[in-house]
């Protein structure tokens, strides 16, 4: 059992950057296609970090109301699966999933419009700042009520299976939300029908202040998969981008080709409090320091440089591009008008002529389990 206070976490010491890849280290081949993919992933991870950092700072400067849930430190668990997802793959995120939005391609300027609750965000400013949603990429707006997205992702996966569409539903929660009934009800059903679903438990060890060992009788939550008759995987270094990439490629391939769902538990760490108003005093002193040494982004950078996937010039160019993109986005958000209050009266009911995405697929092909 993992006991953090003795330092006995799954990852104890900083791993040598150039040895990323976990158990896939030896079989992972840097073909030209791979290199291109890694460059794309790098951009998404870097962008996620920089957006997050900027959003935190803007909140602290009092530039928007509400609160902010930073995911700095745990970028891999969201960016990697979202980066691998296809456009029509469903994403059911929770409250700390900025990387899903960035990875799936939600435009940066709309993310900032969202935190500023401006008229230019998808919901036109009626939602809470961090509840980014973007229908164009089949990513449902998160809901504050934990685990409610899990049955939704399950239903999306069910509809894919019924109609023989080769898409996958992705679902994300923290390790805390897995205690809710919706988690069990959904995974049980996914197991019965071998639905195309990839479930990620982002284990950052704390649900607000409650540590994993008093959240779950068995902190190896991936082992629950066995009870549902599905695949369960633990990534004990969820800050290892290459390891994550390989695990998700397998899970996605399994889901897309009728092999059923996968429950992935990836260990990671959030650097800051639950939200910006939480000083996180419940954590042991040196724990953060240990995990900061495992920061996923410099490790990935070191790997890319060491293996000559990218040069530092290329990286710097990307960073500069990202900074400019963020500046534009902040400006876009700040210059965007607020919606008039009456906007909150709209969209309570959908009109008769409304059409949901994917409605045109009308063939039901699944006949039996």
């Amino acid at each position: 059992m993992a006991k953090k206070d003795t330092g006995d976490t799954a990852v104890k010491e900083p791993v040598e950057a150039a040895t990323l890849g976990g158990p896939y280290r030896d079989s992972f081949k840097l073909t030209p296609k791979r290199k291109e993919q890694l460059r794309g992933l790098y951009r998404v991870m870097r962008l996620t970090r920089d957006i997050d950092d900027r959003m935190r700072k803007l909140f602290r400067q009092g530039r928007y109301y509400g609160t902010y849930f930073s995911q700095i430190g745990q970028e891999c668990t969201t960016t990697v699966p979202a980066f691998l997802a296809e456009k029509d793959d469903f994403i059911g995120p929770s409250h700390r999933e900025l990387g899903c939005m960035v990875g799936k391609g939600v435009p940066t300027k709309y993310l900032f419009a969202q935190v500023y609750t401006k008229s230019t965000s998808q919901d036109r400013g009626v939602m809470h700042p961090v509840f980014f949603g973007w229908t164009d990429v089949r990513q449902i707006t998160p809901c504050t009520c934990l685990a409610t997205q899990v049955p939704l992702a399950t239903g999306a996966a069910l509809s894919y299976k019924m109609r023989g569409i080769k898409n996958v539903a992705f679902c994300f929660t923290g390790e805390g939300a897995t205690s809710k009934g919706d988690f069990h009800e959904s995974l049980n059903f996914c197991g019965i029908h071998r639905l195309p679903l990839v479930y990620t438990i982002q284990n950052n060890w704390y649900a607000e202040s409650v540590p994993l060992e008093i959240q779950s009788g068995n902190p190896n939550q991936e082992q629950r998969a066995e009870g549902y008759g599905i695949e369960g995987v633990r990534v004990s270094d969820g800050n290892d981008a290459i390891w994550m990439l390989c695990v998700y490629e397998e899970a996605i391939e399994r889901a897309r080709n009728g092999g059923g769902p996968t429950l992935i538990m990836a260990d990671t760490y959030r650097w800051y409090g639950h939200s910006e108003i939480d000083p996180a005093t419940y954590r042991p002193d040196d724990e953060l320091k240990r995990w900061m040494a495992l920061d996923p982004i410099p490790r990935f950078e070191a790997y890319l440089l060491e293996n000559k996937v990218m040069t530092s010039d290329e990286m710097n160019a990307i960073k500069a591009e990202i900074q400019a993109e963020i500046e534009d986005a902040v400006k876009f958000a700040e210059d965007s008008p607020e919606s008039p209050a009456e906007v909150c009266l709209e969209n309570v009911y959908a009109p008769d002529d409304f059409v949901n995405p994917l409605s045109e697929f009308d063939k039901v092909v699944a006949k039996e389990i």
């Binding site: 509840f131 059903f189 009911y349």
Partner: protein, 327 residues
């Protein structure tokens, strides 16, 4: 041309016709497939449409509704059956926080065309967990539509309308009505619009408002009152959300006296809402207090004598209405 159908026939017919019309329509719930539903409301659907379009689920109310929502987002038209209304609360979060709010929270870009079929209601000897009328919990939730058909014709028409609606619709079907009423319904495809109430009987002395099983009792009372020279106007609400305030207010203005009848407990029930609408909009026209004849403020009892005592009986509705007319 028409044919005679019971209330439950109407429900089966509506689903069958909608499933034939649109391949995206499917039913999911406990025992709906192999068994055809514990009330036989999905009888024959699995045989005609196959396993996945009439899908037996595990005992998982939150999943039945939540997966319905997810499928609806991805272009399907699910009908999620909750076996008994008493068990719907396991899905409360999904109904209230997901289904009802998806369109709103996605800025009007993602609709939730889901029907939740909910057998409900008493006078069936079911006791406190097989008899409840739970509609009031949901009438409080903007974004939902709620229908409570009181006749076979409406049972079919409203279910078809619900399937075609782009919003989540809670379809409350009354268990007692399943096989106790029948009427001639059209053979051809028809829908009953969600929203408008129906004036089942015109009158000028008193307005009686009901839905579901209580409509049948109110109609009996109106008949009896008519024999005594009192003409009651009977409004069948049919849709509880959005509520047809106009019909209620116009009738209240006309008769000046209003009785609301429902079988759920009085406190916090839909009757209170109707009374407020009348008080707000037709106060100067009233010639007496707004009367609510409801279930008692206790858990729904089992023993037939106690259940009879609990539910608004024809006798109780008659007495209370008579008192108001004479006020």
């Amino acid at each position: 041309m028409g044919h005679v159908a019971t209330y439950i026939d109407a429900i089966v017919e509506a689903q069958r016709e909608e499933m034939r019309r649109d391949e995206r329509v499917f039913v999911m719930g406990e025992d709906v497939g192999i068994y055809g539903g514990v009330f036989k409301a999905t009888k024959g659907l699995k045989d005609e449409f196959g396993f996945y379009r009439c899908l037996d689920t595990p005992i998982s109310e939150s999943l039945i509704v939540g997966a319905g929502i997810g499928a609806a987002l991805m272009g399907m038209r699910p009908i999620s059956e909750i076996q008994f209304a008493d068990f719907i609360h396991g899905a409360h979060d999904q109904i209230v926080n997901q289904a009802a709010k998806i369109f709103y929270r996605t800025g009007g870009t993602w609709a939730c065309p889901l029907v939740i079929r909910v057998p409900y209601g008493g006078d069936v000897g079911g006791g406190m967990y097989h008899s409840q009328s739970v509609e009031a919990w949901y009438v409080h939730v903007p974004g939902l539509k709620i229908v409570c058909p009181g006749t076979p014709r409406d049972a079919k028409g409203l279910l078809k309308a619900a399937v075609r609606d782009n919003n989540p619709v809670l379809y409350f079907e009354h268990k007692k009505l399943y096989r106790t009423i029948k009427e001639e319904i059209p053979d051809d495809d028809y829908v009953t619009p969600i929203g408008p109430a129906e004036v089942r009987r015109e009158g000028r002395h008193v307005t009686m408002i009901a839905f579901g099983l209580m409509l049948q009792r109110v109609l009996k009372v109106a008949e009896r009152l008519s024999g005594e020279g009192i003409e009651a106007e009977v409004i069948d609400l049919r849709t509880l959300l959005p509520m047809d305030k106009n019909t209620i207010i116009e009738s209240a203005k006309k008769t000046g006296k209003v009785v609301v009848v429902h079988e759920a407990p009085k406190t916090g029930g839909v009757g209170g809402e109707i009374a407020s609408i009348v008080a707000e909009q037709a106060f100067e026209y009233l010639d007496g207090p707004i009367v609510r004849v409801c279930g008692l403020d206790i858990p729904h009892p089992f023993h037939p004598k106690m259940e009879e005592f609990y539910l608004p009986s024809v006798e109780r509705i008659y007495e209370e209405t008579k008192k108001l007319v004479e006020y």
